[in-house]
C-alpha cells in the first residue's frame, strides 16, 4: 500500500477530502462493507407478485435463484404501495420458505390421536367419494310445499378470502353443480 492508498484507507482523510463531509456514508465504509452486495443482485429472475396478507394489495417483487425464493421486496412502481411493505409483508419470505410449511398430505383416521401419511392421489379419490356420499346423505329434492330445492345440506365449506379469484370461481361453480349451498368465507365474518 502506497502513501496515497494508506491515506485513503483512513476514514478521517476520506471525510475531509471526499464528498461525505459528515462521515455518514462512503467515508465511513469499511472494505467489507464495500464488498457487500444485496442478495437480490444474484437473482436469476424477478417475478411480479402481490402481498398475500391484508387487502391493501401492495406489489411485491419476488427474487428467484435456482428455483428458490431468495428475497421478497416491495415494488416501487406500485401506485398503491410505492415500494413499501409492512412487517407482515416484509416477513413473507419466511411465510413461503419457512419450515412451518407442510409438504405432505396428512390423514387422521376416526378415533385416532395420530396423523399418518397418505398418497395425494389416493387422498383425492377418497375425498371425491366422500363428497358424493355426504351429498346423498344430506340431499333435499323438495321443500315442504313441494317446491324444488335440488340441494344438499351434507356439505359445508369455509374459505376463499386468501385465495385467487380464479380459485373462488371454480370452488363456487363445482359446489353449485353438486347442489352444495353452505359455501362461505371470511367475508361473512
Amino acid at each position: 500500500m502506497g502513501t496515497r492508498g494508506w491515506l485513503e484507507s483512513w476514514p478521517v482523510w476520506r471525510q475531509l477530502s471526499g464528498a461525505d463531509p459528515l462521515g455518514r456514508g462512503v467515508a465511513a465504509e469499511s472494505p467489507r462493507q464495500r464488498a457487500i452486495r444485496p442478495r437480490t443482485a444474484d437473482a436469476d429472475r424477478v417475478v411480479h407478485s402481490v402481498c398475500p396478507y391484508c387487502a391493501v394489495g401492495c406489489a411485491q417483487n419476488v427474487y428467484v435463484k435456482d428455483g428458490e425464493v431468495i428475497q421478497i421486496e416491495g415494488n416501487p412502481d406500485s401506485p398503491i404501495s410505492r415500494g413499501r411493505l409492512c412487517p407482515k409483508g416484509s416477513a413473507s419470505k419466511q411465510l413461503v420458505t419457512g419450515p412451518q410449511r407442510e409438504q405432505k398430505v396428512r390423514y387422521r383416521a376416526p378415533y385416532s390421536s395420530e396423523w399418518t401419511d397418505l398418497d395425494l392421489d389416493v387422498a383425492m379419490d377418497m375425498v371425491a367419494e366422500r363428497v358424493l356420499a355426504a351429498r346423498d346423505k344430506g340431499w333435499q329434492n323438495h321443500d315442504e310445499h313441494g317446491r324444488p330445492l335440488r340441494r344438499t345440506m351434507g356439505i359445508a365449506s369455509l374459505g376463499g378470502a386468501t385465495l385467487d379469484n380464479e380459485e373462488n370461481y371454480l370452488i363456487k361453480k363445482l359446489f353449485t353443480a353438486l347442489g352444495a349451498i353452505q359455501i362461505e368465507n371470511q367475508a361473512r365474518i
Binding site: V47, H48, S49, A55, G57, C58, A59, V62, V64, G67, I72, S78, I80, S81, R84, L85, P87, K88, A91, Q94, L95, V96, Q100, R101, E102, R106, P110, Y111, S112, S113, M126, V127, A128, A133, G138, R147, P148, R150, R151, T152, M153, S157, L158, G160, A161, L163, D164, N165, N168, Y169, L170, I171, K173, L174, A177, I181, E184, Q186, A187, I189
Partner: protein, 870 residues
Amino acid sequence: MGSNMAEAHPVGFQWVMEAKEKGATVIHVDPRFTRTSALCDLHVPLRAGSDICFLGGVVNYIFEHDLVFRDYVAPYTNASFIVNEDFTDTEDLDGLFSGWDERRTGYDRSSWQYEHEGEGGTLAEPSTREHATGHSCGASGPRLEGGSGPIRRDPTLEHPRCVYQLLKRHFARYRPEMVAEVCGTPVEQFLKVCAAWTSASGRERTAAVVYAVGWTQHTSGAQLIRTAAIIQLLLGNIGRPGGGIMAMRGHASIQGSTDIPTLFNLLPGYLPMPTAETGSDLATYLAAVKADRQKGFWRLADAYMVSLLKEYFGERASAENDFGFDWLPRTSGDHGTYRSVMDMVDGKVSGYFLLGQNPAVGSAHGRLQRLGLANLDWLVVRDLTMIESATFFGDAPEIATGEIVPSRCKTEVFFFPAAAHTEKEGSFTQTQRMLQWRDKAVAPKGDQRSELWFFYHLGRKIKALVADSGDERDEPLRALWWDYAVVGDEPQAEDVLRRINGYDERSGRLLDGYVELKADGTTSCGCWIYSGVFAGGINQAARRTPGSAKDPYALAWGWVWPANRRILYNRAAADPDGRPWSQAKACVWWDEERGEWIGHDVPDFEKSKAPSYVAPPDAVGPDALSGDDPFIMQADGKGWLMAPNGLEDGPFPTHYEPHESPVANALYAQQANPTRRVYPRPDNPSNPAPSEGHREVFPFVLTTARLTEHHTAGAMSRTLPYLSELQPALCVEVSPELARLRDLEHLGWAHVITSRAAIEARVVVTDRMAPLVVQREVVHQVWMPYHFGARGLVTGDAVNDLFGVALDPNVFIQETKAATCDIRPGRRPRGPQLSELLARYRARAGISSETGTARDATPPGGGRDGEQEA
C-alpha cells in the same frame, strides 16, 4: 371509525399521512387510543357499539346548522321523494318502524315505499317475500318496482313526508348531549368532529370515511355503515375525489371472494342465489332480481344471469332448457357459516372443507366451532401450515374439559398442504376493487398444490364418478363445462379469468365489457362485473404502468371493476350541468363539443348521455336514467338517504344497543336491534340484557382488534420467527382505574370471562383504554387482540372463544366488536374447574338459553303513550 388503519393497514395509511401533510384534518373515533390516534389531529373516544348514535348525532348537527350541500342533495339523492303516508318512524313507535310483525320478528316494508303520481299512488312491494330480504341484495341496489315511474317529489324539500324531512325528524333527538350520554363522548369533542367533518363539504372540499370490521362486526353493522353513507350524501361526498366510504378489508382477496363469491347467498357479480320461492324457473328468478319498471343497470340482470349459465353449462345451456337454470340449488333463508356450525354440532352436516381459514380461532364462539368439527364424518383442511382447526382432536381446550375425547371423536381429517402466493399465478382483488395479477415465481414442493389444482381435479374425478350414474341428480355435474386449459396437470388460471371475462359465443371473441352481454345465450361470462378484465384480449389485471402527473389515477396499473372505473358513481363529481364542482375537485365532466363525458377517471356513466338528458316516462333500465341520475345501479338512479327496500331492520339507521350491553337504550324502549339473528340454545348463551338484572356479573364492555405483526387467526403469522418475536404474547388492555377496581397488575396475568368462555392473558395497564361516563355511570372497556391460538411459535388462548353467536340481520355477520365481560386477576382454571367456573358465572347471572335474546322490547301496543300508561 371502526378502523385502526395505521396498525392494521399501515401501507395504505401512508396516503392518510400524506393528506395530513397537505393540510387535511385527520380524526380517529375509536374506543381505544391507538397508533392511528397518535398520528391524527384528534382522537375521540366512544363506547364500543354506540357508533350509530354518534353518527346520527352528526346527521342531526348537519340539519341543525343547515349544512346540507343542497345543490348535490336535491338532484342526486332521494331527499325530495315523498313517502307513503302509512310510514311511521321509530320516534313514534319507541324504536320500531311501521310494518313490524311480532310473530315473525321482521318487517313488512310496504309502508316504507315512495308515493307515485297519478293512479295507484304507492306501488307497494310485497316485502314478506323471502327474495326481498337484505342478504340477497349483495352490493347492488335492491329491486324497486316503480323506480322508473313518476315518483312524487317536492324539490323544495319542505313536504312533511319527503325523505329529507323524515330523515331530519328521525335524528332530531340525536343531539350532542344525547351522544355524550349514549357514547360517553364528551360534548366538546363531539362538536369538534362535527365542525371538522362538515367543513369538508361543498364544491371545494370533500371528506372521506375509513372503516373496517370495527363497523361490520355488530348486530347493526349494515345500518352503521349506512349512517356514514347518509352523512356523506348530505355533505356531497359520494362519487367525488377525496370522498367516499372506504372499507379497509383484511384479506388479500376478500373483496374478490365477495365479487366472485364463496358465499351462500350469492352467485358471481352479486346475482342472488335462487331461493325455494324464486327458483321455479328463470323468469320467476329474474322477476325477483329486477322490477319491470325500474331504472339502472340491474334491469339488465337477465343478460348477466344467462351469460353466467352459459359459462357454467356451455352448450348444454340453451333457451329450450331455461339455460340450465333448474340445475341450480335453491336456498331457503339462513345458510351462513354460523348456522352450518350449529348444524354440525347437531349432526346434520357430514363433510366440511376449510380452505385457508381457521375457524377454531378466527370465528366467534370457538368452543362451538370445535365441537362442530368434532362431530363431522370428515373434514378437509387445506392450508400452508397445520392449524388449530385441523389439530382440534389433539389440542382443543375441550380435550382438557373432557368435552372432546379423541378416542370417541369420529371425524376423519384430511390435511392437504397448499401452494403459496408465489407458487401459483392468479389474481387478487384488493380493497378498492382492483384486480392485480400475480405471476408464478417457483413451483410448490411435495404435495403442495393450488386450490385451482385441487378443485379442478376434484371436479374432474367427481364428473368421472357420475358420468354413467343415470341419476337425474347428477345431471348438472355432467352438464358442467369443465374443459379449462391445463398445462402438465395444472389448470391455467388465465384461462379461467378469460372465461370469467366472457366470450361472444358466435365469434369466439373475448368481450370488452359487460355492456356487450346478451340474454339470448350468444354470450358467456363468469362474472359480469369482471367483464372487461380481458378487454382487447389482454390480461388487464397484469398491467403495471405506474401513475404520473398526467395520469393521477394510474389507470394502466391493474384493473378495477367495473370497466376500470376508480371512483364509483363519479358522475356525481360534476354538478347537474356536467361541470366539475370546482377545479380542485375535478374528476369527470361533460365535454359539450365532443358530446361525451371525459376526465381523469373512466366515467361511471353512459359516455354520450348529456347532463341535460331527460329520460322518457315509459323508459326502463339504463334508458330510464336521466342526465342527473348518477347512481346508475340504483333502481331510481339516486343516492338513498332512505332505503325503501333492501334492509331488514329499517329504512333509516337507528341506535340500538349491542346484543350484550351494560346499559339500557337511552333513546327508545326497544333495547337491541329487533331483527338481529339470535340462536337461543344451551351451547350459545348470551349475557343478560340490563332489564334482566345481574348487570354486576358481566359489568364491562369487551372489544377486540388486530395487531400490525399478526394476521387474523394467526396461521400466516404465529408460525413466522420475525413476527412472533415482535408480538410474542396475548395481552389484555385495561385502564388504570379498572386495574385498581379488579386488582390487576401490569404485566401480570388476568382472565376474562363471559358466559361462553374464560381465557387468560398478560395485563397491559394503559391510559389508552380510558373509562367513559355513560348515562352518568362509569363504563370500563376491555380490549384484546384476537390472533392467538394453541399452535405456532407463540401461543395463547383464542379470544374469539369469549363471544357468542348473534348476527346482523342483513348480512349475518356476528357481533364480535362489542360484548360484556368480567375480568379477574390470575390465570384461568384448567380442565373441569374451567367448566365449573363458567357454570358458576352463568348461575350467578341467571342465564338460560333465552337470556338476552328477546327481540321486541317495546311495550305492548307500541309507542310512547303505551309506555307511560304502563
